[in-house]
Homo-oligomer: 436 residues x 2
């Protein structure tokens, strides 16, 4: 059945967290992998600038330390090298090395979301031209199978929407703020101390990491190229304890969601904090866990949950891609999973998004204020679904409202007029309300 | 890139709920499927005894009614037939027809869990011998991708455990009992009225449907043949409102779980009601939804959630299998996904299972009773983690205990001695406590 004599040579570029996780799995699960794939999958080369550290790390795992090199030419020329795994990150050298590996007819596996979100099409085309594979399951949501799931397992569906908690850092922060009433800055510091957040947290906290992942997911789900620039992005920096408590009272939790939809041939793609009902499956996705909630016209509601980062979880996705390449090599069918962006659909503008909105205002505490605010909202077609007034210090009051569904263009105009109203002292926050 | 001239002919055997769902998807999503697969996937033949109903149903969907036949010979001889989809159910005629289709070199897609749980190996071997595909994603958990996920996406892992809510009927009943305090018999009648439970509910309520699915999942996860007979099975018939309320007080919900584990080279596989902590992701899987919680040594905890039954959700899995066959035909790589049971591992006996136990006893209401019961448990190595006594009618009392982890062999002996004790009037229920 299986030809057990086959050997498949793997080279890893970049021996950081995920690189070491991948090496660990290839060593630890060597036997079961060779049973499952009918051949030995062997790490035979590692490209890493910090050669000494890499040699020590690999020795500790039971590999020969001399498989390490810092010379890409030597790396690529390794005899028996079938599969190149790119785990360096970044969009400069990584892109160059991947292209050169593809040109040398090596199949490539990458976990590089930045690269795939920006240069995915170019790289997939290069793989196809060179008749080799390029797999990138680990680039979105770590160990959770979602790219192949969208491409293959849910292929029968018109995907109606994707809602993903795809950034562990922000999910950790929001979970701690909700469960322990921590404030944003303290929890961010705690996350940094635990290694869950970078020293410069902008990419995570600002929503940009999630935006890259959502661009990749939308491209696959809608068979149309969506890049980072197409994604509307807001981060979680403005979420305060006041918002968290208001959410709790309203029966919501706050999550940073990446959302992609297709309606009337337009793709809508955005990342921002969202209030979601506590009974929704995404509401119970806590701490650094990720989950992608996919609704298809046939399958209905599905959710894929797991660890979105980390050495072994991300390594699990990398090794599953390595095995997919092995399968393709074995059957001589490389380059069958090229770019799936067969169409180019327009991207919906922010003003055409439709949401409910949570709106927290500081207003003058006097009779007639509510009438004035309702009028401004009503003039722009924004109707109020619920409203709570919290008294302040005799001079001002806090007004918390949730609107009915409305186009953002209308809502923005209402907001601008509110800001000019003499009874409105300030808009404390605005958060979209998505699933109830 | 794609050769758009290819046509792929599909024949469906059995036009019941899932058959009609599959036909609906093939018609409704015909265009996007042909874009994604680079060829037209066409339903060209239907085998169905109730020909008149089938013709009317297909006409309503926009198919030619004359594609219906009740003659298997005619069905199989249809020119251009590439893929046979078996949706008749049962293990008699269905097995015969699948074998004859495989021998005629047709690839087969089936949603038949009974057949795969009992004759899976024989059928997969027949497919391999005839150099065609046999896919069965829809046989477990309806629209949720789980078979290909275990085979491919989680291939890097030694699977530590699988815990699945894989029967919608029982999950619906337990959800209603918990949310609305309904009793078992009333909720079962309600489920029957809604079409969620069969007139004879034994297969669902008794845990046998779940057992078939768990046998399939365990076979795939552990690369070792597990059949229905290997599965320890208990149903939910004995769950009372008293147990539900006790669970609520203890911070648990009750679910019917299919569990598979591998430890020390032994496979443990069982289906029974379980108390799980309310914060566990499986706890919020409500109504008829299914979910499979998989823990792997690399990926950690993952969960796959969605609709476990229904025309379109199950049809989604069937059509994804059809597309997988199309892909294999296109690249000339049929019969590459044969039986993956490369080993034969022993099945663990019930006495060697390890669990915590919830135990509800009716006892004599007098001093010294607790000491007597604790002694019996202690003599067999069963220690009590928590205990609540609820007073009864002066003569008896209800004792609710949760034990620490213990081997079932020891627990069963303790239970037998308890039943003979003069201070124990009866054992009302015993439920395993699995994840907290």
């Amino acid at each position: 059945m299986h030809n057990l004599n086959e050997n498949y040579g793997v080279g890893i570029m970049g021996l950081g967290t995920v690189g070491l996780g991948t090496a660990t799995i290839l060593k630890r699960n060597e036997k079961i992998l060779s049973i499952r794939k009918g051949g030995k999958i062997e790490l035979i080369r590692v490209l890493e600038k910090q050669t000494e550290k890499a040699r020590a790390d690999l020795s500790a795992l039971g590999f020969e330390p001399d498989i390490v090199t810092d010379d890409f030419g030597l790396f690529l020329a390794t005899p028996g090298l079938d599969i190149v795994v790119e785990l360096m990150g970044g969009t400069g050298v990584a892109k160059d090395f991947i292209l050169r590996a593809l040109q040398a007819k090596k199949s490539v596996v990458t976990a590089n979301k930045d690269l795939m979100a920006i240069h995915g099409k170019e790289l997939l085309t290069a793989a196809e031209e060179n008749q080799v594979d390029l797999y990138f399951e680990a680039s979105v949501a770590g160990g959770i199978p979602i790219i192949k799931v969208l491409k293959n397992d849910l292929i029968a569906n018109n995907i109606q929407s994707i809602m993903g908690i795809v950034n562990g850092t922000t999910n950790y922060i929001l979970t701690r703020m909700y469960d322990e009433h921590g404030n944003f800055n303290d929890v961010l510091k705690e996350a940094q101390a635990l290694g869950y957040a970078e020293a410069d947290p902008t990419a995570d906290v600002g929503g940009f990491d999630a935006a890259r992942k959502v661009a990749i997911l939308a491209s696959i789900a809608y068979n149309s190229r969506v890049t980072l620039d197409d994604v509307y992005v807001e981060g979680i920096e403005k979420i305060s304890n006041h918002d968290i408590e208001a959410a709790r009272k309203l029966g919501f939790v706050i999550k940073l969601l990446g959302i992609a939809k297709e309606e009337n041939g337009e793709i809508e793609v955005r990342v921002h904090p969202v209030m979601i009902g506590t009974k929704h499956p995404l509401a119970s996705v806590s701490d650094t866990f990720n989950a992608v909630f996919v609704t298809g016209d046939a399958v209905g509601e599905t959710m894929f949950y797991g660890r979105g980062a980390g050495d072994l979880p991300t390594g699990s996705a990398v090794v599953s891609d390595i095995c997919a390449v092995v399968e393709d090599i074995k059957h001589g069918v490389l380059a069958t999973q090229g770019c799936t962006c067969y169409m180019q659909k327009p991207i919906r503008k922010q003003e055409d998004f439709v949401s409910k909105f949570y709106l927290r205002l500081k207003v003058k505490d006097s009779p007639g204020v509510l009438a004035a605010i309702s009028k401004i909202l009503g003039d722009h077609g924004v109707s109020i679904a619920s409203l709570v007034q919290e008294n302040g210090n005799h001079e001002d009051a806090s007004l918390i409202m949730v609107t009915h569904k409305v186009k953002e263009g209308k809502f923005i105009k209402a907001k601008e007029e509110l800001m000019e109203s003499p009874v409105v002292y300030g808009i404390d926050n605005i958060i979209r309300v998505e699933v109830y």
